[in-house]
């Protein structure tokens, strides 16, 4: 019985939040890794792209809510999501046309593109704050829990409750659908194959008649969709606040690098590695250990390895370890 309780406490506080957070990071890291594979630079504006896409979705959600449209138990934001994605696609394609393309034609060094993306970070960040302000925004509606702790306790009779939030469920389901669709696209369709060819060897791809501008355009469209979905899921699960998206940049990059930059499969694995390390190292294990340990050995403290404020340190240390011992990442990524 105690073992069961420990298992439920573990699932409730570590496993489910870890999977949800890992899915969000994986979606973000996929965007970073695609830009890196095709356009060959680290896109610092990715966090703020997520914020922009999420912002558009939030605004449209509010519009729908004011019209009285809702999805019943599901959050209205899901209905607004496609429009948010459309906005983000327009934004990124516009940015590419006005800014990135100039440097691509010039064949500028990657580090120049990184600095350019810093400038774009400033602009996106400024725009987000300009339109929606710097404060927390709530746009969640619908049913809060799929399984609430109280119901769970009542139905199983266990003292330990298990809660499963709707947002966590949506996050996991959406992530699976999106990742499956992305891999189908990359592996089965003509456009996806041309993207992979371009990423592997630019010159060969050009020789075989692949239109680079088209590949770049498709990449931005996919990146915009991934960023918006990741941004909205994160915003639903935690809360929408422009500045947090900038701070997500570090774990997202850590995930992409740990998995191997330019490798989509690696980005997903990296997302979960980072998320689970963050959650396990900053979680106070007392609750689980109390059930497992015999009475005299029960821990007196919280058994928290690091305070939650150091979660950045966790993703960073993992990043450093991987960089030092396996610079191309867990899955073989590019290393230029």
């Amino acid at each position: 019985m105690d073992f069961l309780n420990a298992l439920i406490a573990f699932a409730n506080f570590v496993f489910i939040p870890g999977v949800a957070y890992g899915s969000q990071l994986a979606l973000g890291a996929l965007g970073v890794t695609l830009v890196y594979g095709i356009l060959r630079f680290s896109n610092f504006a990715h966090g703020d792209t997520m914020a922009m896409g999420a912002m558009a979705t939030v605004l449209i959600t509010w519009l729908f809510q004011s019209w009285g449209i809702s999805l019943g138990p599901l959050p209205t934001a899901l209905l607004a999501l496609p429009f948010g994605i459309l906005f983000a696609i327009g934004l990124l394609l516009g940015t590419d046309r006005m800014i990135y393309r100039f440097y691509r034609v010039q064949k500028a060094k990657p580090v120049i593109l990184v600095i350019v993306s810093l400038g774009i970070t400033f602009i996106y960040n400024g725009l987000t704050r300009f339109v929606i302000g710097a404060d927390d925004q709530n746009f969640f509606d619908g049913q809060r829990f799929i399984i609430s702790a109280r119901e769970f306790k009542a139905s199983t009779g266990l003292p330990e409750g298990l809660s499963f939030k709707t947002t966590q469920g949506i996050t996991i389901v959406t992530a699976i659908i999106v990742v499956a669709a992305l891999f189908w696209f990359l592996n089965k369709t003509r456009a996806g194959k041309s993207m992979r060819a371009y990423s592997d060897n630019e010159d060969l791809a050009l020789l075989s008649g692949i239109n680079p501008e088209r590949v770049v355009m498709i990449t931005w469209i996919i990146v915009a969709s991934l960023a918006t979905i990741a941004g909205v899921l994160y915003g639903l699960d935690k809360s929408f606040k422009p500045f947090t998206y900038f701070q997500l940049l570090l774990p997202i990059f850590a995930a992409a690098i740990v998995g191997g930059l330019g490798n989509p499969l690696g980005a997903i694995a990296g997302g979960f590695v980072i998320a689970f390390s963050e959650v396990t190292i900053t979680y106070a294990w007392k609750k689980v250990l109390v059930y497992l340990m015999p009475e005299p050995l029960e821990p007196s403290g919280l058994v928290q390895l690091l305070s939650t404020d150091y979660k950045f340190a966790v993703s960073f240390v993992i990043l450093l370890i991987v960089l030092l011992f396996k610079p191309t990442g867990l899955f073989k990524g590019q290393s230029v």
């Binding site: 120049i112 400038g119 400024g126 300009f130 950045f312 960073f316 990043l319 230029v336």
Partner: protein, 445 residues
Amino acid sequence: MSETVRNTVLFGLMAFLIAGVVVVQGWNSALLIIAMGLISSIMALGVNLQWGFAGLFNVGIMGFVALGGLAAIIVGMPSTPGAMSAGGFIVLGALALGAATIALAIYTYRRMPPGWGRTLAMLVIIVAGFFIFRGVLDPAVDRIEDINPAQTGYLGGINPRWAEFGVDADLFMLLAWPLGGLFAAAAAWVIGKTALGLRSDYLAIATLGIAEIIIAVMKNEDWLTRGVKNVIGIPRPVPYEVTLQNDPAFVERAAGWGLSPVEASTLWVKVCYIVLFAVVLVLLMWMSQRALHSPWGRMLRAIRDNETAAEAMGKDVKARHLQVFILGSAICGIAGAMMTTMDGQLTPGTYQPLRFTFLIWVMVIVGGSGNNLGSVLGGFLIWFLWVQVEPMGLGLMNLITAGMEEGSALKEHLIESAAHMRLLTMGLVLLLVLRFSPRGLIPEK
């Protein structure tokens, strides 16, 4: 137009802008812009050393600046009575233990043959070391933080001047500036040792992470910095306004300038800071110029332009990179200590990457990377914009919304969000310069 003439014109324009501030907003704002412009210029010089000379992409400037701030409280504040004996020595011992653990792990890594045995041994050392470290550290930290938490609750600093504390100018504070540089240099050494061998993007991510960690430590380790409770009342190297106002000689001189004692004292304090900062800037500028034109500077530029060729010529690329990374970071640390000294308080919550890292980057790029004079110009110009865009944006918004009816939601929203114009402007300035004048206002020779 010859180079000297053009530079004179550019700096003349900058002086003209500041003169405009004097006319519109008064001397106080103008002097504040000059003082912060000087500090920004010093930070830009440090980044220029790394990026302009050596092509190192450091986006962790915020962390080094914050370490400078830490030095300011350690030098400036008196030590908290009883804190050292309550747990201070144990904390220092725990830190030594932590360092020893890492050293032992590195030693094991170097000495044992590769394989599972080595990985396991290192894991055991690190995990055991971590628990011992926390076991020793935590109780001592609790004891320190229990000492009068509303006022102190931290170790305090090393300032020996008890009697005059907070009344008189305290030249001891000046020690904080080189110490800030030392702190930043030490951190840079650790980062450089681990991350410099990697490609440029990775260095960027690594420095970004280190900066966040340094800020997280300063926010959470209350025994060191009081965390988000902030340290206030850091002594200054310049006279206090109140002291000046009570000094009959000063009041008389102020009357001679036609100023009230209060006004004159606030201006005088800023002038004192400006003189001190200018001395530091001139000194660092002179050293950077000498470095730029020395064989060492030429070697760095050779490495920057073609690493492989430089290596083939027998230059030690890694060592030079480490050197210049440490030097540039130290300069940022000095500037950080100066800034905290002028603020008179350390507020770890206010360090944000957009303000302390990316803004400095805009300064370097706009001024002209690789040119020290350009960094100084960029420091002043961008700081001026950063401060002035907000009032300008508000004016613009008032103009745009003048035709709208009073109390409309859109009008209110537009006027409210004028405060966020500065990020937008900075991004625009950076992109425009990169596009149309990629070498900056004062290009490298």
